[in-house]
């Protein structure tokens, strides 16, 4: 297999990329001196993908909520039994996760890497669903859903998304509901499997102290004994989403000691091109840190007044079809937090943010990005998420370095708009 080389100079890393006839892309990050090896096999199929058709098939398919996650559970069943049992003698720790846009299967191992890799590639390509094993899984996933229902952090987050979005499926719980998963049949699972688990919709990421020629040869051989399937594009249907938020406030009671809050800003669509997409993300991340980070006077004010504590945090999500920033924490008075934030922003929009804060926060985030490369799992998971958006995570550092103070200033005016704001609160 042919492969090329992507150099990440600032982080002193190199990434090798190869592509198969069947459309699968493979990435390898050598990590000299690492004992662990990590392999991740992922498909661009998440909880958001509920309505779709294949390009040459006009029939539009609609599947129950939570099916991507259900399918992830069921992939661990094979004709010969439980997949975990095959990895166990090799000492690998194998697992999987499903998020809004991706399902990923992975293992970490210190020994027997190639045997483990072969197993990973093979089990993800060989589904085995029966009426009986689908039925059995419903009890397990019901317990998983109940576990999340008792988790106030999870609740306050999903309540926010439900209030922010009118129709976009990001508002739906990743695992679905007890009701929706009980409707899932083995036919539904095969339908999704055949659509989304085609190699051309997947990526394989490997990191560790491995020899690249041997690695690429072994992967090629693992795929050789598989008949090639026809490549067919997938069309995903998302309902039109209004720009404004559905509800600006959502509150619920749970067993907690102090209220928890998530304050979100829904983002308008941004034009997609490879260079500006990463830079836009970098701009908003620097901006959020300047406004809400530990060194901001807003944070200090909220903390001094006892309105927030160390749990205060913020994050930004930008997918191709939606985006939002989130500020969250514990507070005795979340409404007061929101009011304080809004006043601060209104006032600061008049006088602007400080350039010295910009310079410092940019240094901080450059350091953070470099330190991410300590963890092969973190890099693998991030890499795959960006890859499915058509982006290369290794380009992020360069995009961040290119952010200017003027960029920040413009985004500050646009991003924090009170009519795109949602407050979600869990009260005791």
């Amino acid at each position: 297999m042919q492969y090329d080389k992507i150099i990440g100079e600032a982080v002193k890393e190199v990434l090798y990329r190869g592509k198969f006839q069947n459309g699968l892309e493979v990435f390898f990050l050598p990590k000299k001196g690492y004992i662990k090896k990590f392999a991740l096999f992922a498909t661009k199929f998440g909880s958001n993908d509920l309505v779709f058709n294949r390009l040459h098939d006009t029939k539009v398919i609609e599947v129950p909520e939570g099916i991507a996650h259900f399918l992830e559970h069921k992939m661990f069943e094979s004709q010969e039994g439980n997949v975990f049992d095959k990895f166990a003698p090799l000492g690998a720790s194998v697992n999987a996760y499903t998020n809004f846009n991706v399902t990923a299967y992975y293992f970490t191992a210190t020994n027997n890497f190639y045997e483990n890799l072969k197993l990973l590639i093979s089990f993800v390509q060989n589904p085995y669903f029966t009426d009986e094993n689908v039925e059995k899984e419903k009890g397990i996933i019901t317990q998983e859903i109940k576990m999340y229902q008792d988790n106030p952090q999870w609740k306050v987050f999903f309540n926010l998304l439900k209030a922010m979005y009118h129709k976009h499926p990001v508002r739906i719980d990743i695992a679905g509901t007890e009701e929706s998963i009980n409707r899932i049949t083995k036919e539904d699972l095969y339908q999704c499997y055949n659509t989304f688990y085609h190699p051309s919709n997947m990526v394989l990421f490997i990191a560790g102290d491995l020899e690249k020629d041997k690695l690429f040869n072994e992967i090629e051989m693992s795929f050789d004994d598989q008949g090639s399937k026809e490549i067919s594009s997938i069309v995903r249907h998302y309902p039109a989403e209004a720009t404004h938020v559905k509800n600006s406030l959502v509150e619920e009671k749970m067993i907690v000691s102090t209220p928890l809050f998530y304050l979100g800003y829904k983002e308008k669509e941004i034009p997609y091109d490879h260079t500006n997409f990463l830079k836009h993300e970098a701009i908003i991340r620097v901006l959020l840190d300047m406004v809400f980070g530990r060194s901001s006077d807003l944070y200090e004010d909220l903390y001094q007044k006892g309105l927030i504590d160390q749990s205060f945090n913020f994050d930004y999500v930008r997918e191709l079809d939606y985006g939002h920033s989130i500020i969250n924490g514990n507070s005795r008075d979340p409404h007061k937090v929101k009011e304080t934030i809004n006043n601060w922003i209104l006032n600061r929009k008049k006088i602007g943010l400080k350039e010295e804060d910009f310079i410092r926060i940019k240094r901080k985030q450059i350091g953070e990005n470099i330190s991410f490369y300590n963890s092969i799992e973190y890099i693998g998971n991030s890499f795959v998420g960006y890859h499915f958006k058509g982006l290369n995570f290794m380009d992020y550092l360069q995009a961040l370095k290119e952010v200017t103070y003027q960029d920040i200033h413009q985004s500050f005016i646009n991003h924090f708009s009170e009519d795109l704001q949602v407050l979600s609160v869990i009260n005791p």
Partner: protein
Amino acid sequence: MELISEKILKGTHLHTITVDKFKTNSLNIYFQQPLVPQEVTYNALLPMIMQRGCQEYKDARLIAKELEYLYGANLIGDISKKGEKHIILFTLTTIALDYLEEPKLMDSALNLMKEVLFRPLIDEGGFDKDYFNQEVSNLESKIKGRVNNKNQYALDRCIEEMCRDENYRLYEYGRLEDLKAINPMKLYNHYEKIINNSPIDIVMVGSMKHQEAKDYIIKKLHLKDRNIEGVSFPEMIAAKEDLNEVSEDMDISQGKLILGYRTQISYQAPLYPALLLYSSILGGGAHSKLFLKVREERSLCYYIYSKVDKFKSIMLISCGIDVAKAEETKAVIADELNEMRLGNITQEEIDNGKEAIITAIQALGDNSNSLAEYTYSQIVGDFYLSPEELANKIRAVSLNDILEVASSIKLDTTYLLGTSKN
């Protein structure tokens, strides 16, 4: 992994692990205290107030600014318990100099650490009053907030019930009833006691060599000789004669069942590696008996696992279930322990359990925090096994050793959180 340990001053040991594969250097400073009722809340409050300000950086905002400017260096202080020892830990992480043109980065970061640790902001013989009041209130929320994470709450509560006559029952963040009596002066006196008398261990993971690190750290942190007061672990305790069954009513969707066992096996005992293997075969992951029986065969839960508390010689089994099925779940778990006792363990289960533990031990070497934590957990127990030695001992465990463990383990307490109303 190469570890060099040396008593660099009276009362202070330095342990260096020199590796150059990481993007960061990490410096971990551990203060060892006894876990006792009269001091637990004081210990918990200290790292919180120390991070609020010091003489050179008068408030948390100035500390944050300095850390950000140093390319996102991290300085975090926190508390944990290891058996009946209460450990205050400050960790400093900085980007390795190979990646930045910033030769003074380490000097500045260590200066900040020195300030936070040894030059606190003092007012009339006590900590700053405003900071003190705010952090007392934050600690109060933290202690009350224990209930927010139901899994952890259930585990903590089981230990509280199981060890109700031992200091290990104490929550590491302290007791609400102490908060009224604490004042800035008393807390400062406690701080001085720790700084002057607590055993200090410094674990450094990064590119610096031991000899170089030693002189550098003593100089930059202004470390001095100190007379320390040793801290020791109490005797092991056997299981109670009668099973202690506790249930707590809480209106939640999923019940939490915790089973607490006394193992009677010390971490220094030759049988300890066999205990780790026992727990791995029983409930150490997707290869384990409990996962296969309780989850895969009976669909009773989503998660179930067992874990060994190294310094306390206890084992806990934790799962999330339907409360109405608690008795059924307990019976299935009891059956699996019985299987272990009867020796119904296949060679494959033993091999799988060994592989899982050995992989986990080997993988420690790829994470600087795990390396530091592993190293310190050997030091604090005064019983050093390198990861390689521990892995070899795991390899050598026989079926007979596992049976010996099985006969020594006894259920002490069951704890069920949830409601049967729904």
